[in-house]
């Protein structure tokens, strides 16, 4: 059962393999019909599997090596991208990309976590786990956007801020805190998209937006399911339970009013079709931007304040 939950794509792979085997050998109309039949079954099965993902399976989907990353979205959605490097204090952090671009004729700023596709790139990007320099670069670009009054788009996809020695020495906590405070007070329109892993403070640091969108299979949480399991259950193996208990999926977050909208993914997830995913996201981004542009900057920043001000559930009564 546990293995089945982990490897939910196996039936899909098996079908794909059979189709491939059949296509490899010559045959008549029968064979073509058979392939077509299997192909239809594969589509249906994929839809079926992805429609019933458990929270833990979603956590696995968003770590899929073929998920589109920030630079993929930048290429598919924006033009004239100019990447900006460095925090002008210490270094450039490749785990966060930032820059200027054009979106449907409007100059905009973009900030996002960036993971690597192959091993070398993964290491260079530190698996999408930023160091303080990354957040300081992000803040620099946010302030640039603020100065010239350009909208800001951010893309969130990180396991979390890097828990390393140097990161601590250089003020990981301070860098995140400043990013949170800065973002909350920008007067420009901010549209955030959680595209994959929304890992804790390292994700939130660039996710304080007027509109927060989340991809259908993305997750967003205070700690990774493994981390939560290790601390509360003293057993990393309880990650599935932790994933369920923490309510980390897009529908959960919509219900808790943490995100504004769920962006649907194509069958088989965003990793199956980057172009299609970008097109779906495009509509959502455009709608959000249009909406935000019709509001005065002062009202926008106050509305953003109230949006986050409302988050959280507590009771009020006297006990003592």
């Amino acid at each position: 059962m546990a293995a089945e939950e982990d490897d939910f794509e196996r039936p899909l792979r098996e079908l794909e393999k059979r189709i491939e085997e059949l296509s490899g050998v010559p045959g008549g109309d029968d064979r073509a019909d058979e392939i077509e039949r299997l192909d239809r079954r594969l589509q249906a099965l994929r839809q079926e599997v992805y429609a019933h993902l458990t929270p833990w399976q979603r956590a696995l989907v968003e770590r899929h090596p073929k998920r589109p990353y920030t630079l993929d979205y930048v290429n598919l959605l924006f033009s004239d991208f100019v990447e900006i490097h460095g925090d002008r204090k210490y270094a450039d952090d490749p785990a966060i990309v930032a820059g200027l671009a054009t979106y449907k004729g409007t100059p905009i700023a973009v900030v996002g976590h960036q993971k690597g596709r192959d091993t070398r790139e993964k290491v260079r990007r530190n698996f999408g786990m930023p160091r303080p320099e990354g957040y300081r670069k992000a803040v620099r670009v946010m302030e640039l956007a603020e100065k010239f009054q350009r909208p800001l788009f951010t893309f969130v996809d990180t396991p979390g801020a890097y828990p390393g020695k140097g990161a601590e020495e250089r003020g990981q906590a301070e860098a995140i805190a400043v990013s949170l405070r800065t973002m909350a007070r920008l007067t420009i329109p901010i549209v955030v998209t959680v595209t994959g892993e929304g890992g804790s403070g390292g994700a939130l640091a660039i996710a304080v937006g007027d509109r927060v969108l989340m991809l259908e299979h993305a997750v967003y949480s205070v700690i990774s399911p493994e981390g939560c399991a290790a601390i509360l259950w003293s057993d990393q193996g309880k990650a599935k339970e932790a994933a369920r208990a923490m309510r980390i999926t897009a529908p959960d977050l919509r219900e808790l009013e943490i995100i504004d909208a769920i962006v649907p993914e194509p069958p088989g997830g965003a990793q199956a079709d980057h172009t299609r995913q970008a097109a779906i996201l495009d509509d959502h981004l455009m709608a959000a931007l249009e909406e935000l542009r019709s509001v005065l900057p002062v009202e926008r920043v106050e509305a953003r304040y109230q949006k986050f001000r409302r988050m959280g559930t507590f009771g009020q009564a006297k006990f003592f």
């Binding site: 301070e174 986050f308 959280g312 559930t313 507590f314």
Partner: protein
């Protein structure tokens, strides 16, 4: 086969054990720093600091409030906010049961106390975290109370002091805990723009989401000696980099060395230092010049402190200072009217 003399030697030992139990409990304490056994009264006289090695014992939020406010007098506010188990979270124990246990154990609603009083004659809003309540972890209730403390300071134009003592975000509230970081930082952004002073005091331990939000956003960030301060906990870092960390890593002194803290203050001197800093930070001219115009108009300039204003009935008055207090914010305040409030207390 039994040997008679063996038994004889064992017998007299028991009364010794018995005698040890008879020593009044808590007369002596073992120092976590130098591991010496010290006379407890001596530690108490020394502001809960080890007289031998200067180790700062962890103290409760109430002890801190008493130690810092003038004449140990303060008025507690926002006492009625408590946590609810909105996710129906259950690990090895249910969150609901955990909350009930800690409420009974600490006599507090959650891991924080908000209070108003004077320090060196100056009105100050203070929020103090209580480590004894689930490791000072930050859930929605703690986040709400910190935010209210900030909004009160902003509204009344009085300085804010927060004493941090927390393991970070409360996992049992999932992403709701995480969002408290954004909520609090946003409020601090307003405070910052309005030039209202904020001093953050970091005590042992201050880690995770608390460090990565309000603990590091003070106009001054000051710490007690040898406090563990960091974003990730040392164990997580050790697992990540696969090496043992030195003892001094992530301690106050280490952070000062790396430029992350303004200075370290010993507990006995904390009050005096606060008074000195507040004198610099509290500037009526700056406050007037940067009074926000966009937000709800505030009728509470520093000058209209109502002499003799009585505390509202709903507030818990803990030795409040008459003549120095003012009406608390009406609740629900316009800013928080849309908060999801569960009015039915499921705990008693």
């Amino acid at each position: 086969m039994e040997i008679a003399w063996f038994k004889k030697i064992r017998k007299p030992k028991q009364p010794v054990e018995h005698k040890r139990i008879q020593v009044p409990e808590g007369l002596w304490v073992k120092c976590n720093g130098c591991k010496e056994i010290i006379y407890k009264k001596e530690v108490l006289r020394n502001a809960n600091v080890c007289p031998k090695c200067n180790y700062h014992f962890r103290i409760s939020a109430r002890e801190r409030l008493s130690a810092l406010f003038d004449d140990a007098r303060y008025q507690e506010v926002d006492t009625d906010i408590y946590s609810v188990d909105s996710l129906k979270f259950r690990d090895v124990k249910s969150y609901r049961d955990r909350l009930r246990e800690y409420r009974e154990k600490t006599g507090l609603n959650d891991a924080i106390i908000n209070a108003r009083g004077t320090i060196g004659g100056l009105q100050v809003m203070m929020a103090v975290m209580e480590y004894g309540f689930m490791g000072g972890s930050m859930g929605s209730a703690v986040g709400e109370k910190v935010t209210r403390a900030i909004e009160r300071a902003l509204d009344e134009r009085i300085p804010l002091v927060i004493i941090c003592c927390s393991g970070g975000a409360r996992m049992q509230e999932g992403v709701l805990s995480l969002m408290q970081m954004a909520k609090i930082s946003a409020a601090l952004g307003k405070l910052h723009e309005a030039r209202v002073p904020y001093i953050s005091i970091l005590t042992d331990p201050t880690t995770g989401g608390v460090t990565a939000s309000f603990a590091m956003l003070g106009d001054l960030n000051i710490a007690e000696p040898k406090a563990l301060i960091g974003f990730a906990g040392p164990r997580v870092i050790e697992q990540t980099i696969r090496e043992k960390l030195p003892e001094e890593f992530q301690r106050s002194e280490f952070l000062v060395e790396h430029g992350m803290l303004d200075f370290i203050v010993e507990r006995r001197e904390m009050r005096d230092i606060l008074i000195r800093c507040l004198k610099f930070l509290m500037n009526a001219e700056a406050l007037a010049a940067f009074a926000p115009t966009s937000a709800a108009p505030s009728s509470t300039a520093g000058s209209d402190l109502v002499p003799g204003a009585a505390a509202s009935g709903s507030e818990n008055v803990a030795s409040s200072q008459p003549g120095r207090t003012r009406e608390p914010l009406p609740f629900p305040s316009p800013l928080v009217a849309r908060n999801k409030i569960t009015s039915s207390p499921e705990v008693s």
